[in-house]
Amino acid sequence: MSYPARDPARSTGTQGKALSKPSEGREMSSLRRRTATRQAIRFAAAVAITLIFVFPIYWLFMISFKTPDEIYSFPPKWYPGQIHFENYAVLFKDGDAITVWNSLVVAGVSTFIAMFLGTICAYSLARFRTGGEYLANWIISQRMIPPIAVVFPIFLLFVWLHLVDTYIGVIILYTAFNLPYVIWMMRGYILDIPKALEESALVDGCSRWQVIWKVVFPMCRAGLFATAIFTFVFAWNDFLFALVLTRTEATTYTVQITHYFGGQSNFWAKISAMSVLGTLPIFIAVAFMQRYLVRGMSLGAVKG
């Protein structure tokens, strides 16, 4: 292939394109400078916003490692002189750390049950249109009930059933409150799975339960993880129900933290150490499942 001869007297701009005027070269440089300035501003803004959001978590961690003098010093010490673990040791010695375990149990078990039952229910709604066109909408509307409106009737019911301050009572409640969310989310993910995949599995020898296990679960794995994480976080962070329905045996860490707010003073060291203990499981879970979380949140638009 032959090319036309190049005129060395002509200057070239980006991508080897010949520029007809020197002013075009100046315009390109100006455009590049403006683009770089805009990117620098965006970067600076992103750093500032990140610092604003991350700083409370950083401060929480720092307080948990400080001595009381360092906690109350002014001007504030931005980091401890030495990392101290006494604040954490006290929680374990006094037996308060067991509340983190309580939270783990009730949030974990309720999430598992809600995910299992909710996904099965969502499958029925998605594939068999159980309950008609509007049942899914009615189900999610239950999630909109303000907890404060129902916590006391539930308390009275739990007293009658001897479920107050028990794991099982809190688990039942968290499961019930999170089920609508799980059903709503998983229904959307299941609707996105092509029916032909399930039909193919049915023809190939699977029962309906096997189709759910071998096709539906793998296909909406990202959605399962994302929904499970949010369900876990809802249960993990709950305060109101735990406050009303637990006493000493099943106290969760969210309630335990409030015990460190005194009439005369607050035990900031314990507050921060317990808060870190309560936050760590979430950090670890999200860190491991981040890719499923991102994929799950971006997949599967909720279908009405």
Binding site: E199, L202, C206
Partner: protein, 366 residues
């Protein structure tokens, strides 16, 4: 014994009567194509045979066994879907082996069966790949491989080539036909493409509005359609329909078209029609039965007409020429050199031996 026997099958979707009393028997080893326009019930019928839809009335027998109340997995069928239905989280090997594993096939038998099917389809080099790494044709081969590895009694294909480009479709048509020849199994194939139907089928079942319009060998439907719908559905370009009236001419029957043109029917044909003078009729002429008149062509049953070409659509070796006859627009399939420009006058011979006469009231072919 029929390998598949459907008796008085009805299927409703609410108030919509999707399948209306279908009776169909398919002998063992036959390649049957269910064809029809969109919404005619062909996919519904196939899915009902598969058990993916419940039948509301009637019975389905596969290999002499009543299956209409059985789930799909107990009907001894395999199915290939339009969108391949391959599991994206499994590689090709696992996709093909899925059915075998679901049916608890011994592990030592799975690999040889999968490799045999893969070799048959020329995809043995793709077994480690995932569906996202395959082309459309390869995906379809894997889907077919997943079906044939099961060694089922009945194979169902639901428009498997619809998503492929034209060239690949031609290639896969041949592959499926070869597969049928090699396996010798009973296959039911659904398509809306009449070319697929004509080229692949041992028998075509043409459906319309949930009922069987006509069933038979491809050439039988093409040359002896039972109704106007069948005559117009098969053939590309489709048959020309000219309203007219039977009239007497020289002791025999002829068709007088709306513009006064009279086309004589062959004597043998007229005799079979009996005394039907003045009866309204629709004359059906296939484009390939309208040719340039050859001087000295003395075959009986050829009518002559001089036409002015209004539109030309060359395809290479053939040209579709549109002109007016009997007040209607008619398409003729001519040799490319027969007509080269619009408004050209050309003398055509119309093969009335092959013409179809249709009762306008019942739309049945006389």
């Amino acid at each position: 014994m029929a390998d598949l026997k459907i008796s008085a099958l009805h299927k409703y979707y609410g108030s919509v009567h999707a399948v209306r009393g279908i009776d169909l028997q398919i002998p063992e080893g036959e390649f049957t194509v269910l064809v029809g326009q969109s919404g005619c019930g062909k996919s519904t019928l196939l899915r009902t045979i598969a058990g993916l839809e419940e039948c509301d009335q009637g019975s389905i027998e596969i290999g002499g066994k009543m299956v209409q109340h059985l789930p799909p997995r107990d009907r001894d069928i395999a199915m290939v879907f339009q969108n391949y239905a391959l599991y994206p989280y499994m590689n090709v090997f696992d996709n093909i082996a899925f059915g075998l594993r679901s049916r608890k096939t011994p592990r030592d038998q799975i690999e040889p069966k999968v490799k045999y099917a893969a070799n048959m389809l020329g995809i043995q080099h793709l077994l480690d790949r995932y569906p996202r790494q395959l082309s459309g044709g390869q995906l379809q081969r894997v889907a077919i491989g997943r079906a044939i590895v099961r060694n089922a009694r009945l194979y169902l294909f639901d428009e498997p080539l619809s998503n492929l480009d034209a060239q690949l479709r031609d290639e896969m048509r041949g592959e499926i036909k070869r597969l049928h020849r090699d396996l010798g199994k009973t296959m039911i194939y659904v398509t809306h493409d009449q070319i697929e139907a004509m080229t692949m089928a041992d028998r075509i079942v043409l459906l319309r509005d949930g009922a069987i319009e006509q069933a038979g060998a491809p050439l039988e439907l093409f040359e002896r359609p039972a109704t106007k719908y069948v005559a117009g559905f098969l053939g590309s370009p489709s048959m020309n329909f000219l309203p007219g009236r039977l009239t007497g001419q020289g002791g025999t029957l002829a068709v007088r078209l709306e513009d006064g043109t009279v086309l004589a029917l062959p004597a043998a044909r007229a005799q079979k029609l009996g005394n039907r003078r003045d009866e309204a009729v629709i004359l059906g002429l296939r484009p390939e039965h309208l040719n340039r008149a050859q001087p000295g062509d003395s075959r009986t049953g050829l009518a002559r007409h001089t036409a002015t070409i209004e539109l030309l659509q060359p395809t290479g070796s053939r040209t579709y020429a549109t002109f007016t006859l009997g007040g209607s627009s008619v398409v003729a399939e001519l040799q490319a050199h027969d007509v080269t420009q619009m408004n050209q006058k050309i003398e055509l011979s119309i093969d009335m031996n092959r013409a179809v006469l249709i009762d306008p009231g019942t739309e049945n072919v006389l």
